[in-house]
């Protein structure tokens, strides 16, 4: 490739001179040297641990004793796949994902469409919807544990104002706990998707709006028939990122309910955490973590393929 690129480029330098950017001899050492700092971190803290997790899954290692433990073959896999706790935690993860992904796409889209129409004071809306996203998960949890508190919480008093005589125990009622956490999550993270949509709307040329308006399309029609269909790429991006993020939920659940009541809000990652760090079963937890990774990967791939197809049809 070296010779051809130099000759096709308008000769800024004599053709005879070897292209300086091609490294030979000592240059190879330069390349290795420059890659080394990052490479070392990459191998020690990413690649190595990944391989180790894969191997540890075949042993019965414990965090207390350290080390791999003794070989158990596929026993951990058999146990995990046969465990009701494993499957129910996966179910809770998926339930949380459904509860958050759909509203987080639709609400972000609606907020962005409305904000895009505002001529003045856009910064205010960007601030209002995006600011929560910047906050640490523990601040969110602290805040919402009080909002959801029985008797003295804000959510209960608002519900009473709206005419609900006996508001449920938001985080204590098995039927409501996950919904409550999902609602807090939507409030917290919608800003990210909102900003992506807002940027996509900004990219739509003004001529498109004008042309549609001249053709007599009203605001609602322009929205439905012109603007929304042009947001396909942004929607793909938002949907994929959102799905992956939701499947990895941990922080807010760990803090707000720690999986309760009766484990109904325990997601897969919390199950990994509990088997690994509470029960100290490092080998088994590695197996569950790896299984979870494979399942997330599969769901993401299927999801991505589905979105791609509907996008093409649209």
């Amino acid at each position: 490739m070296s010779a051809t690129t130099t000759t096709t480029a308008p000769a800024a330098r004599p053709a005879a001179e070897p292209a300086p950017r091609h490294t030979t001899g000592s240059g190879r050492w330069t390349a290795s040297g420059m890659l080394l700092p990052f490479g070392a971190f990459y191998v020690v803290f990413l690649l190595g641990p990944l391989v180790y997790t894969g191997i540890a899954g075949f042993f019965n290692g414990s965090l207390v004793k350290g080390g791999l433990g003794s070989w158990v073959g596929l026993e951990n896999y058999r146990q995990a796949l046969g465990s009701a706790d494993f499957w129910s935690s996966l179910g809770h993860t998926i339930w949380f994902t459904v509860l958050t992904t759909v509203p987080l796409i639709l609400i972000a889209l609606a907020l962005a469409l409305m904000t895009d129409r505002v001529s003045r004071g856009k910064w205010f809306f960007r601030l209002a919807f995006f600011a929560p996203f910047m906050l640490p998960s523990s601040v969110i949890s602290l805040l919402f544990m009080w909002i959801y508190a029985d008797e003295i919480g804000l959510a209960g008093s608002v519900a009473k104002l709206l005419g609900v005589d006996a508001p449920p125990s938001w985080l204590g009622d098995p039927n409501w706990a996950m919904i409550s956490i999902a609602a807090a999550t939507v409030w917290w993270t919608v800003g990210f998707n909102f900003v992506i949509y807002l940027a996509a709307l900004q990219e739509i040329p003004r001529e498109v709006h004008e042309a549609a308006a001249i053709d007599g399309a009203g605001p609602w029609q322009r929205l439905r028939l012109v603007v929304v269909p042009m947001l396909g790429r942004a929607t793909t991006l938002v949907a994929v990122l959102q799905l992956v993020a939701s499947l990895k939920v941990f922080d807010q659940i760990y803090m707000m309910t720690n999986g309760g009541p009766d484990d109904v809000t325990r997601p897969s990652l919390l199950y990994v955490y509990q088997t690994g760090f509470t029960d100290g079963r490092a080998g088994y937890a590695s197996t569950v973590a790896l299984l979870l990774f494979v399942i997330i990967l599969l769901i993401s791939l299927v999801w991505f393929a589905l979105i791609r197809r509907t996008e093409k049809e649209a």
Partner: protein, 299 residues
């Protein structure tokens, strides 16, 4: 539906008259549509700000007021006593310092290692360049949560748990940072580095004196994002640090929450203190942050 007339020309005057960036002059019904939109949007914005406002309002109330009406918004005699108590008795000042040190060092190490690697991948031609790049990119697929057990064991063996390094080191290999830097470096004209090379400059010097000074936008984007992400990181510091004195702010706040006796107003004061640093960062770097997010996947 609505009758529309086209704005005469796309001039500043025209858009000032029509009051929107599309240069479309709205007829009556359209103006109504806009007003309804604005109204709905304002209501939603207030709804979004309400939890934060409530935390703020609660944090400056007295225990007596909270006892009589726990969810009221207005305090008759607002007080900063809750903040004084939380800051004085609690460990929040330590957590601020710990969070700042670990996030700053993580960011520094990430920017240095990732930019250097990206430079080699962008400018140097060596064998296995493409496989190496693909291998690094594949790291995106590895969820950090999958790695928490081996990380814990590594740092346990080396005796680094409960130190800053335990929090920092596993966060350093940031694949996205390498990708952002490489994209940016690829856009810098080859002629520039070639000329320096012809003059006999070493690659390291070219990286440090030519490419990095030109890459301020990329450096600041990576800096802001890694810093915010590291500051907010929860699961890993939760495992790496058990000594309350060494905790980062997000992890420390959890222990506040566990301390049952703490009154509501003090908890809300803690939450506000936990929120302040990043809200400040956001106010200062609003444009950079928003543009950074918008640019991640759209281009």
């Amino acid at each position: 539906m609505a009758t529309l007339t086209r704005a005469p020309a796309r001039t500043a005057a025209a858009s000032a008259r029509t009051g929107n960036r599309y240069g479309v002059r709205y007829a009556g019904s359209e103006r109504l549509f806009n007003r309804v939109t604005l109204g709905v949007l304002l209501a939603l914005a207030l709804l979004w700000l309400a939890p934060l406002a409530w935390a703020l309002a609660t944090s400056i109330r007295t225990p007596a007021e909270l006892a009589t009406d726990p969810t009221a918004w207005i305090s008759d005699n607002p007080t900063l006593a809750n903040y004084r108590e939380v800051l004085g008795a609690g460990r929040i000042p330590y957590w601020y310092v710990n969070s700042f040190i670990t996030s700053a060092l993580t960011t520094l190490l990430t920017v240095c290692t990732a930019s250097l690697a990206a430079f080699a991948l962008s400018r140097l031609r060596f064998r296995y360049r493409r496989p190496v790049f693909l291998l690094i990119l594949a790291g995106v697929m590895i969820p950090p949560q999958l790695l928490m057990i081996p990380h814990f064991q590594t740092l346990q063996i080396t005796g680094m748990l409960n130190t800053y390094w335990a929090v920092i080191l596993p966060q350093v290999p940031n694949v996205v940072a390498v990708f952002v830097f490489k994209q940016f470096f690829d856009g810098i004209p080859v002629e520039l580095t070639d000329a320096a090379r012809a003059d006999g400059a070493s690659w390291l010097r070219i990286y440090w004196q030519i490419v990095m000074p030109l890459s301020r936008p990329a450096i600041s984007a990576v800096t802001i994002f890694v810093f915010v992400w590291s500051w907010n990181n929860f699961l890993w510091p939760l495992l790496a640090v058990t000594d309350p004195q060494m905790m980062t702010l997000p992890v420390g706040l959890t222990s506040v929450q566990d301390a049952f006796g703490l009154p509501q107003a003090q908890l809300m004061a803690s939450a506000v203190l936990g929120a302040l640093p990043l809200l400040t960062v956001f106010l200062f770097f609003q444009r950079r942050i928003v543009e950074g997010i918008a640019g991640t996947g759209l281009k």
